[in-house]
Amino acid sequence: MRWLVFAFQNTLRNRRRSLVTVAIAALGTAAILLAGGFAIYTYRALAQSAARSTGHLIVGLPEQFTKDEDTPLQYGLDDSAQLSARLQADPDVRHVLPRVAFSGLVSNGDKSTVMLATGVDPDHEFAVKGPFLSMLAGEVLTSNAAQAEVMLGEGLGKSLKAEPGSGLTLLASTTDGALNALDVVVEGVFSTGVPEIDKRLLYTDIVTAQRLLNTKRVSTLGVFLRSMEATTGAQQRVAGANPNLTVQTWTDQAFFYRSVRDLYNRIFGALGLIIGVIVVFVVANAMAMAIVERTREIGTLRALGTLPSQLLRSCALEGLVLGGVGALAGALIALGVSVLLDVVPVQMPPPPGSTRGYPLSIVVDPAMFALTVLAMVFVSMLASGWIARRTVHLPIVEALAHT
């Protein structure tokens, strides 16, 4: 404790220099935590978006994930209701939603365009999507509709000049290769925020999709869990109980999520490294000046019987004080900015390929905060000790003669 007090007293010798050092350490820490908090927010948002889109687990025949189908639902599941009931028995499973993925044409009578369609369970599908699907007009699908209904992506609706209540015709190949057509009514228009997807995407209820394709099969079952953390355990249980099926997790299908995470990890990792190096240099520079000024005093303390290792510890503790105070101040700054952004929201511009901006948010992750502060303290101590090592081993006579 006495060494720590001595180290603290030493940092007060040149207050301006110490203040600048602490300020740079604080800004560096805050920058790392803000960038890291933003990255974590982005990861979580993308993870939620991906999991709510596909389900935390995707269950299907192995060929569904490895081969292209020659005819629609060639590798679909036959006994989906029975399988769904079995999956639903797992304590971590909240919903099991069937999906029928198909493509074809959609026509308004005058114009036909390509659609990428998904047949879904309307009662639960749109509930689990939450804020990741925004309705621009009309309503979401319902299971007890009097006639076949569809929801169109914004771009597809514009292309077909369709709005809620408009009549359209869906054309697709059936599972036995014949062409089938079905009249539907537009129930709503939505946006995923990605124009390229909204130009082609169409939702219909699963019964309509199966009628159009003339099948009882579904492509896959999307399993929605009670929490993201339950994914790995649930995957192992479901895969173990169904060895003839493949069980993928949402990360297996979330290419965009993985790409963004890889990119951000590299960008923010490099940023953190650069900031860390800057902080090390600033602390080392401050300590170098302080130690040169105190060479004679170090000689005196050595003459009085202080071991070089004790002086090294004292200098490292000075680094701890400078780096620690700076890191804690930086953590407080980051915390303040995070709270401020919750109180006064700031909207980020839409990312490339998207039409929707998103709120700028900084996640306060206790583990990241603790790790960053500890890392700052550690590198500051290391830099201080490294700088001091030569002076504390200087011959005492030489140190005492230093002017």
């Binding site: 007293q9 030493n10 005196t300 009085l304 019987g305 202080t306 071991l307 005492i396 006579v397 005492l400």
Partner: protein
């Protein structure tokens, strides 16, 4: 020489290199200082006084000869051994006081006890006693920059004596003081020396100091006269 000798030098030589030149700082010094003895080293600048003090204080090493502290040779000690011996057995008083400016008077005096691992309660008692002995108990919480030169040197003396050393090395302890203050400091050193039973080796140019010493040795060109 006998077991009463605190420090003993036997045929000690020391040379320095100054650029291309070699300076013979000490040439075959034989010296013994007894317990409780105050020895003054005098001589002109460059005569080897500081070098001799440095060797007695174990902050420098001899090129030849032997140095004994309490009858034991220090020649075989490594740097850590010498540091620990300084910590336990030696005190230092410097010309320019060399107090730690960020520590209070009490903390400066306490420092040698702290690094020696003396328990806090005992440290407090010994520091208080030393400060009373040098008349600075009122200034215990002051920092050195709030004290006069004489007061600072008294703090340095208290710091040197607080661990009850067997030998105190004092390099020009009155050189930075006016004559009145120097008299006070010398009186305190003499009184504390006798009270604590420590030997003093003092390098000085100050003629007022030598009459108070038990023995005065004169150095010239690295040799005792």
């Amino acid at each position: 020489m006998n077991g009463e000798n605190v420090v003993e030098l036997r045929a000690v030589f020391k040379t320095y290199r100054l650029g291309k030149h070699t300076v013979q700082a000490l040439q075959g010094i034989d010296l013994a200082v007894k317990r409780g003895e105050v020895v003054a080293l005098t001589g002109p600048s460059g005569s080897g006084k500081s070098t001799l003090l440095n060797l007695c204080g174990l902050i420098d090493t001899a090129d030849a000869g032997d140095i004994l502290l309490d009858g034991k040779s220090v020649a075989g000690l490594d740097e850590t051994g010498r540091t620990l011996l300084r910590r336990d057995a030696l005190g230092f008083v410097f010309q320019s006081f060399n107090l730690v400016p960020v520590m209070t008077v009490a903390e400066n005096v306490d420092y040698p006890l702290f690094i020696a691992g003396v328990p806090a309660i005992e440290r407090r008692e010994r520091v208080a006693a030393q400060l009373i002995a040098v008349g600075l108990e009122e200034h215990a919480r002051h920092r050195p920059d709030a004290l006069s030169g004489g007061q600072r040197q008294r703090v340095a003396i208290a710091r040197a004596l607080v661990k009850r050393p067997r030998l105190v090395i004092a390099d020009e302890p009155t050189a930075s003081l006016d004559s009145h203050t120097a008299d006070q400091v010398v009186a305190i050193m003499q009184e504390r020396c006798h009270a604590e039973g420590a030997a003093f080796v003092i390098a000085t140019h100050d003629a007022r100091l030598t009459p108070r010493c038990d023995r005065v040795l004169s150095l010239l060109d690295g040799r005792l006269q």
